[in-house]
Amino acid sequence: MLDHAAHKALVAAVGTENVISDPVQLRSYECDGLTGFRQIPSLVVLPRATEQVAQAVRACHRHHVPFVARGAGTGLSGGAMPVADGVVISLQRMRDVLDIDPVDRRAVLQPGVTNLDITTAAATHGLYYAPDPSSQQVCTIGGNIAENSGGAHCLKYGFTTNHVLSMTVVLPDGETVTLGSDSDEQLGPDLRGVVIGSEGTLGIVCDITVRLLRVPETVRTLLADFPSVTAAGEVVSDLIAAGIIPAAVEMMDNLAIQAAEKAVGAGYTLTTPAALVVELDGPEAECTAQFDEVRAICERHGCTRLHIAGTAAERAKIWKGRKAAFAAVGRISPDYIVQDGVVPRTRLAEVLNRIEDMGRDAGLRVANVFHAGDGNLHPLVLFDDDAGELERAEELSTDIAELCVELGGSLSGEHGIGTDKACSMPRMFGEADLSTMDRVRTAFDPQHLCNPGKLLPTPRLCGEQPGRYRPHPLEEAGVIERL
């Protein structure tokens, strides 16, 4: 519980109409998209302006109250899970598009603007915002910054960090600063890049200036079936070897296809072992030639069906199937866990085989949907909570993420570390790496009030010995060195 003085200061900061203290209403803030981790906050404040955010943070700082910033709550790593006896600062009432500048090609946004609304607002000028996470209809730009979100098109267009020019940030003591500038030329160290992807642990991002891109002249999309996941993987390798950088390359295995098809009927082949969605975009003169090359590569690897989207509606349908895959898995399994890990692209086949073996050993099914171009996997671990399979499923899911690290990859490609994977961080980073990150965190937040307990392992969450560091494979090979 908050003490009376802290409660009063927070109410004064945002006004009573922007405070939630009713226990029933507080419950809807107890978790984000990762529903396994829950904690009811003491209070939720919903500021309407940057100054109110600053006032609320100053109140927390003065009264030593931990706080957690929250956007749409679609995060999948428990990054927006409240802290016991802490406050949630929801940015949901700050959702204005403040400016669209078609000449300098940028948009100024409040943090609660949804990802898709940026593109909607820019569309009249023939511009769009490139990063497009699957949850783009709901997720907010503030949340995208916290997680450094990518999306299906990030292989070609990069991540949130490559598209944010500047942002005002309320630091954990309530001071407001601007990080970044009007151009990519920066004054000294790039703090903007440090805060993007910091999962809300270094401050609260308010006004945000993002780069807008011109809508490409052409978009070509195809859906191709393959006799095996391996064959589909070889197509991806050949595309890269041919110097083609597709706007997107997405792969789904049979289980994921079945689920998606049941849910949205997007026209995927129910019996195919694997399918690839390949999209090219850019100037017409380039796309036409490259698209022919993509088709030839698909055919060379035994493509059993090749469907080219002839209209925008057909293209949308192909993507609907792909983007629905996560939620659709609910149709073939009572419960599931979405995992997020990355391996070097060349180890895709190996990791899929290992996942299959691990699933068999655990007696659980794993559906695979992934961004094949950049090695970002989203294995979906299917289980039945009523049958007591939860613990086994969680274990398998964690093992898969840690397997990615073992193969030279990363614990997370886009969902973040949050609460979910903090205890796995020592698998990927050594003590000196983590302590350096914590030194930077301390510089921003000496009182450790800003989303505490997330991202870095803590004894409370992980025990005193949060897992032993395993040498990176490159380290074992003597390529990189650790002292």
Partner: protein, 457 residues
């Protein structure tokens, strides 16, 4: 005063160079930007990074490469070009031997920044040694990775004040089948208008630069595709598609113009022409990125700073002159930059003098009163646990306990808190761990530039 130059060749010897010496350290690469920003202060120890060179891991199919941070970028480009790949980065001084880490530390970029961004957009991982010898890794070897803080970004534009990069992992792009450049002779004012009409089309230029009377637009793609697109751009602007050799010459001329610059500026693209128009100086201007360099005489640089600041932009000098300000406006988050300096280098050993009064020892050491608990360096032990920082450390004068294996067995593990700038005695030779360190006394009074800065000519 004689400074000792150390040329470590691996991570271990970098750590030793930091833990087993005393006094101020200056990090030095190829010396191609030694004169940029604030002139570095006097150093007791110069750590030369050029011994940290060569490819450490490269699997072309993954389109990433890991290299020693002191590797000249041009050399790296040559090696990966054999596999049809490149680092999509072309700052002018790459031609003069600039190192990968030097390009990151100075936040440099070239004409390709329009299409691919700067080094900050291409670095996916790094190993950094902090002033206390702690070797820290950030990022990894995969393009898509959000685990942990992206501390490579912290190094971008840091001019060596936060640590020394020993190894850097970069993302690669395919070498395009064809590049074509469309040139148009025009004034800055006309170039501004043409830039808007070019960007309104869908030709996706990767570079768009006005260089003293000529607007250069570069596109990349297939041989056939670029032919069609270049013709379309030439028709649109009334320009001409340059033959390959002429295109190379034009970009080389552009690079030479940038080499001569005395100040680099950045602001909203639409405000750039006005700012540049106020000065009668040779200019290379990215009209779509808002980044430009001017070759203004030293006496005018202050006025450039003022004009850019007024336009809401940023500026930094590229020539040493103690009489001119190094930077335009002050960073909004200066307090955070100082707090990070206190955490990572509390005794200000690394490049004191860079960023002048912003991050100097006086500010950093004396700032204990500026923030409350912020002045207490987190101990490595508590840090790893993510718990609140200990209250035991009251100020920078208290050395944090170290868990860095680098300093194990070192007789002066706590030296960083008591390091006196007046003691230049290097101790590297006494350590077995420092066996890779090559020592060579250098006369630093004659100037900060190493011998290879002659490459600039």
């Amino acid at each position: 005063m004689t400074a000792t130059t150390l040329t470590p060749t691996d991570l271990r010897s970098v750590c030793a160079a930091f833990t087993e010496t005393r006094g101020a350290i200056r990090i030095q690469g190829a010396g191609t930007a030694a004169a940029w920003a604030e002139a570095p202060g006097a150093a007791d120890v110069v750590v030369d990074t050029t011994g940290l060179s060569g490819i450490r891991a490269y699997n072309p199919a993954d389109m990433t490469v890991s290299v020693g941070a002191g590797t000249p970028l041009a050399q790296l480009q040559d090696e990966i070009a054999r596999h049809g790949q490149r680092i999509a980065f072309d700052a002018a001084r790459v031609r003069r031997g600039a190192t990968v880490a030097g390009l990151i530390a100075t936040a440099d970029s070239g004409p390709l920044a329009l299409g691919f961004g700067s080094m900050r957009d291409l670095v996916i991982g790094a190993t950094v040694v902090l002033a206390d010898g702690t070797p820290a890794r950030t990022g990894g070897h995969v393009i898509k990775n959000v685990a942990g803080y992206d501390l490579a970004k912290l190094m971008h534009g840091s001019y060596g004040v936060y640590g020394l990069m020993t190894e850097v992992v970069l993302r690669l792009h395919p070498v395009p089948e064809a590049q074509r450049t469309v040139a148009l002779d025009c004034t800055l004012h006309e170039a501004t208008r043409h830039t808007r009409s070019i960007l309104a089309e869908a030709q996706e230029p990767v570079s768009l630069e006005w260089a003293d009377g000529i607007l250069l637009t570069r596109i990349e793609g297939t041989a056939d595709g670029t032919a069609v697109r270049a013709r379309a751009l030439a028709e649109l602007t009334g320009g001409r598609v340059l033959p390959e050799d002429d295109a190379a010459d034009s970009w080389d001329q552009h690079a030479r113009l940038v080499d001569d610059a005395t100040v680099r500026v950045g602001c909203r693209p639409s405000r750039l022409p006005d700012v540049l128009g106020r000065f009668d100086a040779p200019v290379a201007a990215g009209l779509a990125t808002g980044i430009a360099t001017l070759s203004a005489p030293a006496a005018y640089v202050d006025r450039v700073h003022d004009a850019v600041t007024e336009a809401g932009g940023t500026s930094v000098v590229r020539a040493t002159d103690p009489n001119i300000r190094a930077w335009g406006q002050q960073p909004s988050a200066l307090r955070v930059l100082q707090a990070i300096k206190r955490e990572l280098d509390p005794t200000c050993r690394l490049d004191p003098g860079r960023f002048g009064t912003w991050l100097g020892p006086n500010v950093v050491a004396g700032a204990g009163t500026a923030t409350d608990a912020g002045a207490a360096p987190a101990s490595s032990v508590a840090a790893a646990s993510g718990g609140p920082s200990p209250t035991a450390g009251t100020a920078a004068a208290t050395a944090p306990p170290t868990t860095s294996p680098a300093s194990t067995g070192s007789p002066d593990a706590a030296d960083r808190s008591t390091a006196q700038q007046g003691d230049p005695t290097p101790r590297a030779a006494a350590s077995q761990a420092a066996s890779h360190v090559v020592q060579a006394p250098t006369d630093s009074s004659g100037g900060a530039e190493p011998a290879d800065s002659e490459q600039e000519d």
